[in-house]
């Protein structure tokens, strides 16, 4: 467990340079700071937290309580950002006016080089609507929703996490839990949709069957247009309902949902 805690710390640090600035800040405050209240909060307290974080006994107890996934959040109470900013400002205040601008400029460059621009994160994209949900998901949900009733629909992988954020009356035979590898083992319907080629007999076994497919059969199945079906879907009462932004929506007409 102690090794896991160290590994979590290393992952948390990223390149480690910002943490380096934090340690330098601690050293500066150790030498220069005379105010005991600030020494407690920006020197003794962070050191105590770090000692606790790496204490094997503490690791064993806390790991058991809060779990290994979130143990690193214990580091959040170390005021790293505020300590660095406070130190930089103290040094700035102690400089001659002419040198202050150059000092702040250098600090900003060092911060930029040490960290990573937050908006360069690959998961950021320009919002497509006021819901911050992909517009295609919104259009599909609006198309299959039935007033005053819950419907069940199987969605492709890229849409699963958004559907119930937008409309909770749309149920799914699987949810985000099957997308996270450490939680689950996928789902047969999703695996078939993701494979690019669907054997109709096998597919329908899962989408229609209450016992095996889910606790309720699928009223709608959404698949990318390029998916190839091997077999006749219509023989099972499943017909093409609509096509939206490159996704085909199939409707199982054998279950009455008021459409």
């Amino acid at each position: 467990m102690w090794n896991d805690a160290v590994e979590l710390f290393v992952t948390y640090m990223g390149s480690g340079i910002i943490v380096g600035w934090f340690i330098i800040s601690l050293l500066y405050l150790f030498i220069k700071e005379r105010d005991s209240s600030k020494r407690i909060l920006f020197l003794y307290f962070p050191i105590l937290i770090l000692l606790l974080y790496f204490n094997p006994l503490f690791v064993n107890v806390v790991y058991g309580i809060i779990g290994e996934e979130v143990y690193y959040r214990f580091l959040w109470i170390v005021p790293m950002t505020i300590t660095i900013a406070y130190t930089v400002t103290c040094i700035y205040a102690s400089l001659q006016r002419a040198a202050r601008g150059i000092f702040v400029g250098c600090c900003i460059v060092l911060i930029a080089v040490s960290g990573r621009w937050i908006y360069s994160n690959e998961y950021f994209s320009v919002a497509e609507n006021v819901y911050h949900i992909p517009e295609t998901v919104v259009k599909i949900c609006d198309t299959i929703a039935v007033e005053g009733r819950e419907v069940t629909a199987a969605f492709p992988r890229e849409m699963v996490q958004y559907v119930r954020q937008y409309d909770s009356t749309i149920c799914m035979p699987y949810g985000r839990e099957v997308l996270v590898s450490r939680w689950g083992n996928g789902h047969p319907i999703l695996d078939m949709i993701s494979s690019g080629e669907i054997n109709v007999d096998e597919f329908v076994f899962w989408t229609k069957d209450k016992e095996y497919g889910s606790d309720r059969p699928c009223n709608f199945i959404i698949v990318p247009e390029e998916i190839e079906f091997i077999g006749d879907l219509e023989a099972y009462g499943i017909v093409l309902y609509d096509t939206i932004d490159g996704y085909d929506i199939y409707h199982d007409t054998t279950f009455y949902i008021g459409l």
């Binding site: 660095i84 621009w117 996490q161 909770s168 799914m172 889910s214």
Partner: protein, 348 residues
């Protein structure tokens, strides 16, 4: 309808906390009559009250409508109490003083950085898998009027999810969606995202006021550096800065970037008062209690983090100042959080 919804949210998120925070104002206080202090303390009290109201309703499997009515009623009472206090202790906007060029530049730079982050919160979407839980819980609550009784991920009814129900931050978001009439996804991803980022910087400002009591010209420089550290805080996906900007609608982001800095601000005041041999005012202890309770609203881990923070600072106080009474008071301020921790073990 959109205009009315905006007005309601401006009142609830912007004006109401200032009046509620006036409860914490005092005659001789050096900080409690400032608008930012009142706003933040009002927000903490309103969050704490929501936690105290909502969790029993979740446990008893009451309807969300009951939480809405209860919270509106209690907030109205707090608003009236705040109004009375506000009349007695009006806002103080600080003495006007001339700013030098560097200070002006510092403030302008900070405002540019802040506005940029707020605009990005509105126009940029961040794809985070955890939203499939938190935002879906908000949407389900609004739609079904039940709390934590339906699976957010896939299908309909499930057994009560008490583990998450002890930290009902998504339900607070649903409350805002219900009173404003906006979609829960819009409130979560757009309104609350931008609001909580602004709130974080207000807390950083408060911390700055305590760090630079005699050199207030340094506050904008401090905030500029904080803003740059936040903007370049994506050195790992686990930093509080990453959560603050990318996942600001999730309660765990509020813990890292609002509650913990707020606790730091309050502890700075408490420690300074101990250092100067002054008696700590009841207001600060009440506010510390409200903040540790608000931590429980954000995430179940907030219980542990807030208690650990106050506890460790308490140990340092004991070692440095050798005073036991403030440490006992600190421990008492964690009592509500300790109760929620107990509930977690008993029910979870």
């Amino acid at each position: 309808m959109v205009f009315l919804g905006c007005l309601i949210l401006v009142f609830w998120l912007g004006i109401l906390p200032v009046f509620v925070g006036s409860i914490f104002s005092g005659k001789n206080s050096e900080y409690s009559n400032s608008v930012v202090f009142r706003f933040m303390s009002g927000t903490m009290l309103l969050w704490a009250v929501f936690q105290l109201l909502c969790v029993p309703c979740v446990i008893r499997q009451e309807s969300f409508g009951l939480v809405v009515i209860g919270y509106l009623t209690v907030s109205a009472v707090l608003f009236l109490c705040g109004m009375l206090s506000f009349k007695k202790y009006p806002l103080r906007f600080g003495e006007k003083r001339a700013m030098d060029v560097a200070e002006k530049r510092g403030w302008i730079g900070f405002c540019v950085l802040l506005v940029m982050q707020l605009v990005c919160a509105v126009v940029l979407a961040y794809a985070d898998g955890d939203d499939a839980f938190y935002v879906a819980v908000s949407e389900i609550t609004n739609d079904s009027n039940t709390m934590y009784q339906k699976s957010p991920y896939s299908t309909g009814v499930t057994e009560l999810d008490i583990r998450h129900g002890l930290a009902p931050f998504p339900i607070w978001i649903t409350f805002l969606a219900r009173i404003s009439g906006f979609h829960t996804a819009t409130v979560s991803h757009v309104i609350i995202a931008a609001y909580l980022i602004a709130l974080s910087y207000l807390v950083f400002y408060l911390v700055g006021t305590q760090l630079f009591t005699k050199k207030s010209a340094m506050i904008p420089i401090f905030l500029d550096i904080v803003a740059f550290l936040v903007l370049f805080g994506d050195y790992s996906s686990r930093t509080p800065e990453n959560f603050m900007i990318a996942r600001s609608r999730q309660g765990k982001a509020a813990i890292g970037s609002i509650i913990i800095p707020m606790l730091l601000f309050l502890l700075l005041i408490i420690l300074r008062q101990i250092q100067e041999g002054k008696k700590n005012s009841a207001v600060i202890w009440l506010l510390l209690t409200a903040t540790t309770t608000a931590a429980c609203l954000c995430t179940t881990l907030g219980t542990f983090l807030s208690c650990a923070m106050v506890g460790c600072v308490g140990i340092c106080v004991l070692l440095v100042y050798k005073k036991i009474v403030p440490v006992i008071k600190m421990a008492l301020c964690c009592a509500p959080a300790a109760v929620f921790a107990l509930l977690y073990f008993v029910l979870g």
